[in-house]
C-alpha cells in the first residue's frame, strides 16, 4: 500500500505533527486531531489520574473529564509553554475538583506509631511503575492528594492549602503522615526482598 501522500506530494506521519498543528486542528474541532492529541498524552495522563484516584474506574472518569476540559479550554493555551505540562495541570485540577466535591473527613490510621526510618533507594528501584502507582493509590484520600501535589507535581503547601481548602499546617501534617505510611509499606515490601523472597 503506498504511503498516504498529500497534495503537495509529501507524506505526513502522525508523529510529524507539531504541537502547534495539533492545537490548531483541535481548535477547529477536528476529531482526528483530538484523537491524535489524546493518543499522544493519554497514557501519561492516565498515570497521573491513577495517582489521584482511589481506583481505576475513578481514574478513567478523571481522564475522560480532564480531556473534555482540555478540548474546551484549548483556546486558552498560548503555545508558549509545554502542552503536556498544561494538560497535566488540567488533569491535576480536575482530580482536585473531584476530590473537593466529596465529603472529606480526616482519616486516622494510628500513624503516630509509624516508624520514621530512611527508605533505601533500592526499594523503589526494584518496583515497577505500576507497583509504585499502587502504593500511592493505596494512600488514604487526603494524604494521597497532598502527597501527589507536593512530592510529584511540585506544588507548595500554600497552593495545596488553597486548592484543597484547608490550612497549610494541615497540608504539612498530611504530607508527613503520607510519607510515613508509604515508608512503612515500602518496608513491608522490601523486607521480603532483602530476605530473598519474591514480593507478591
Amino acid at each position: 500500500m503506498p504511503p498516504p501522500v498529500c497534495s503537495a506530494g509529501k507524506a505526513f506521519l502522525l508523529s510529524e505533527l507539531s504541537e502547534r498543528e495539533l492545537v490548531q486542528g483541535c481548535l477547529d474541532a477536528d476529531r482526528r486531531c483530538q484523537e491524535l492529541l489524546y493518543a499522544r498524552y493519554a497514557r501519561r495522563m492516565y498515570a497521573v489520574c491513577l495517582r489521584y484516584a482511589r481506583h481505576e474506574l475513578e481514574a478513567q472518569d478523571l481522564l475522560q473529564e480532564g480531556f473534555i476540559r482540555v478540548f474546551d479550554k484549548l483556546s486558552g493555551f498560548r503555545l508558549q509553554g509545554s502542552l503536556e505540562g498544561w494538560i497535566r495541570r488540567i488533569m491535576v485540577h480536575t482530580a482536585i475538583n473531584t476530590y473537593r466535591k466529596k465529603s472529606f473527613q480526616q482519616e486516622r490510621f494510628g500513624l503516630e506509631h509509624l516508624p520514621e526510618e530512611p527508605v533505601e533507594s533500592v526499594a523503589l528501584d526494584q518496583l515497577g511503575e505500576q507497583e509504585v502507582l499502587k502504593l500511592v493509590s493505596a494512600l488514604p484520600e487526603g494524604y494521597r492528594a497532598v502527597f501527589n501535589l507536593y512530592a510529584i507535581d511540585g506544588y507548595d503547601h500554600a497552593e495545596i492549602a488553597e486548592m484543597l481548602g484547608f490550612g497549610e499546617s494541615t497540608s504539612r501534617s498530611q504530607l508527613a503522615k503520607a510519607r510515613r505510611m508509604l515508608q512503612q509499606r515500602l518496608n513491608d515490601i522490601t523486607l521480603p526482598v532483602h530476605a530473598g523472597k519474591t514480593p507478591h
Binding site: 477547529d28 484523537e35 495517582r51 478513567q60
Partner: protein
Amino acid sequence: MQERHPIDEQFRKALANAEAAPPPSVWAGIAAAQEKRRRAAGWRWYIMAGSVLVGGLAIGIASYLGSSDPEHHTLERPRSKVLPAASSEGGAPLIAESTVTASSNGDQAIVTTAVGVDQVLGSNTDDVANAFEHPTLETGTLLPSTSGSRTGVENSIALTQHPAATVPVRASSPLRATSSPATQPPVPEGVVDITSAGTERSEPALMDRERLDLLNPVLNIGLSAAAPHGVTLPRYHVPHGEWWLGATVGTNQSRTSWQGTDEDLANALEQGEGSLGQFVWGLAAGRQWRSGFGISTGVMTDRMERPFRHVAVDRTTTVREENYYVTLNNEVFLSNVDTVVTTTTKETVTQGVDRRSTIRIPLMGHWRTEWRRWAFGARTGLALELTRTEAGPALTRIADGTVGAARLTRAQRAERYPATVLGVVGLDLAYRLHEHWSLEAGYVAMPGAMSLSDRGPVQALTTRHGAEFRLIIHLPTRP
C-alpha cells in the same frame, strides 16, 4: 530552596514519567461528549444566524415599505428675495408658485406686478433718465405707443443636500478572536476512514467541518502512530466548503445618468442631479469552496431623501417709445423720441422632497486567498436594482412644452426608475475573528448596465460605488 524529602524524590523519579494504558472506553466517552457539544453548538449557530436573517429582513422590508407620510419632513423655505414660498397644505410636499403674471396685448403691456426693472435702454440717454422716473411707468399704467416683447424664460435649478440624507456608518461590534486559520495546499476531497489498524481509503464526500485549510497536512497523515489502544476511530468526512451569512452596512455614492427619447429633459435631469451619498445595509449569504471560489447573493437596501428646489426665472422685456412734439404755427418746432425698455422678472419656486428607496439583489462570484487570519479576494457579478419612488417634485415637460418643475405622481416617477441591472466588481479584505465569525471590508463599484424597461421619455440608470463592511457568520456543517 527547601531540600526535598528522600521519599518525595524517590516517588517523583519513579512516577514523573509514568505511563499506563487507559481502556478504549475512555476515548469513546470523550468522543461522545464532544459530538454532543458540537451538535448543540451547531444548533446554536443556526438559531443565531436565523435570528439575524429574520431581523434584518424585517428591518429592510419595514424600511422599504416605510410610511410616505411627509409630515415629519422639514422643508426648506424658499430663498427668493421677491416671492416668499407658499406654505404647504395638509402636509403635502410644498410646491410654491408665484402669483406674478405678465401679459402682452398688442401694443399694450400690462404689468400687474413689477418684480424688478433690470435695465432701461433709450436712444437718448438724458431722456432715459427722465423716462425712468416718469410716473407712467408705474404699475398698471396704460401707455400709448408701446410695444411689448417676451424675451425668454430662464430656468435655474437649485438642489441642496438635506442633512437627513447623510447617515453615519455604524461599526460592527468587535468580537474576540479565538482561532486562526492558515493557508495550506488544497487537499483532495473525499472521506478518509481511519481505523486503529491504520488504513486509509476514500469514499464519496460527506459534509462535516468546513474550515480545514490549516488541517490539510492532517488529512493526509499516515497512521503508523496509531490511535489509542483498542480505539476504533470514526470516519472523518472531508468538507467541500462552507455556507455563510452576513450582515452588511456601508455607504455608497450614486450618480444617475438619464437616457430616453426626450434628450432635453434627460440633459436637464442629468445636470440637475449631482452625486449623492447614501447609507446602505442588507444581508448576504453565500458558499465558499475550499478552492477559493465562491458565490453569494443577498439583498441590499438604501433610502434616499433630499430636498428639491427649482426656481424658474421668467424675464419679460417691454420696449416703449414716447414721442414729444413741440409745434409752432402747425409746424414741428421740436421733436423728441424716448425709447424705454423695461424688463420684468418673474420667479417661480417649486420645491419639495425627493424620496426614493432601492433594493438590490446581487448575484456574485468570489475568489479569495487566505493568509493566517486574513483573506483577500475579489468579486464580480450582476445586481438587479428595484426602485420605489414616492410622489414629489421633479423636472418634467410643463404645459408650454418647456422643461420645468412640477409635482409628479408616484406612477409618473416610477416610470422614470425602472428595474435596472448593475454590474458589480469589488475587492474584499477579511479578518477571521473566530472560528465562526469574520469581519470583512470591501470596496465595490456598481456601474449601471442596462434598464429593463423603455417606457416613458426618460429612464434613470444609476451607477454606484462605495465601501461595505460585513459581519459574517460561518455556519458549521451539521454532521
